[in-house]
Amino acid sequence: VSWGEQAPEAEVVRALARIEGLNPQVNAVIETFPERAVAAALSAPPGRLQGMPVVIKDTFALPWRSPREGMGQSPGIVGKGASALYRRLTEAGAAVVGVGNMHQLGIGSTGTVSHDGPCRNPWDLDRVPGGSSSGPAAAVASGMVPAAIGTDGAGSIRIPAAYCGLVGLKPTFGAVPREGYSGVYSTMAVIGPLTRDTPRCRRVAEALVGRPLAAPGGEVRIGIVGGELWDDVEPGVASLCRDALDALGSAGTRVSTVRVDHMEHALIASVTRMTIDRLPLIGPDWIERMGDDLDPTIRGILMSRQLVTGNLTSRIDRVRAALRREMRRVFGEIDLLAWPTVPGVAPRIERPVMDLPSGKMLADVASVRQGGLANLTGIPSVSVPVGLSEGLPASLMFHGAWGREDLLLDVAERLEQVTERQHVELRPPVVARD
């Protein structure tokens, strides 16, 4: 999707027309704001995102709207108002044209459970787009908008980025202010961009974090971790990820194997920590008030979360501390860690399961296994497309030390350059053509 060719208001009008044309198939955007967006474009300051139409996940307060988080009514965590994200976007000149669909309450990685109906993957409408930032990803992949904003508590930006063939950045914990975000209580969740390529991701990310993200260059040491993160992956996806690392070898990077202890507990620690963070908000009265608006499975998951024991909670915090120390040690030896973002391509909506070398695994579990470490430890992470496996996007994920979004984006851009942008220029069957 081009951007910056026309006057800001014309860019916004074009995005709204694309949403109107494509959304009946993809169901990425649940509400648009034509008058407000055009007005925002007309008064857009000459910032880094001047006139950029963006879709934001339905987790942010807007001055005229409370977020619904995939429900029919607002769950009541934040009300209307100018969230910090809204302020950063508008100060940079962007126009919020609409709100993106999402997996209800962010409890799921497929994007198929929502009051507004399942969001669909533009690469194959029978497949999941990934989630929970499903609508933002599908909106960018289908070319409705040049950029979207998601949130990531256990992979919720990077998973849909991978399934939809996009660049998705999970910044360092706390790098983007969370006032007015419904996940403000979380010790895991962050706000970040989804775009088609790295230069645009960098541009949006700089507006969100409020500082330049240019790395100094030089050799980058990349570590790969043995075990299931690479081995329990669909062969086609693993092969494309290895090819990408090989390609980076000619672009000033050096790859070696590194050891990370305690990884065997990272999945359960990520899942359970995410659970605990939300618990104070979920009481009997709230469940009663939400009534049938809660999807029955989401309601059951919320009930199961009430049963987390104190013993487990205290052990999870020890695992978290240990993994954070491991990351400090590892990033003293190498610069980035790399493994496939998700271990398979986007599964079918009616059967969100992956067939992995170890056997069948729920896509939710498989995805969080790959992505949860970054949320648990606070480190930044980026997912970048590396080609198509059986006609569907595959992606590689890099993790960096705290605050090193610049290095992540630098290596992602090097990969685009050495592969002559062939992966980021791929387009899905359902895409804006005008």
Binding site: I268, R299, G300, M303, R324, M327, G378, W402
Partner: protein, 62 residues
Amino acid sequence: MTLHEAARWLLEDAGFQPTERDLAVIDANERVFGEARRALLAADFAEMGIEENPDYSREPDA
């Protein structure tokens, strides 16, 4: 006491009204994560401390 009975008792004691569907999801959750949970509960954490002042936006203190 079965898992369902224990879950129902704990939830009702906390003021929730679990449905049969809720209990089925709890069952499924146990099937998916039970083994990892038990492994974590069985792990030896005697040497593993916690952070004094955790700040997830930066690396931990030495």
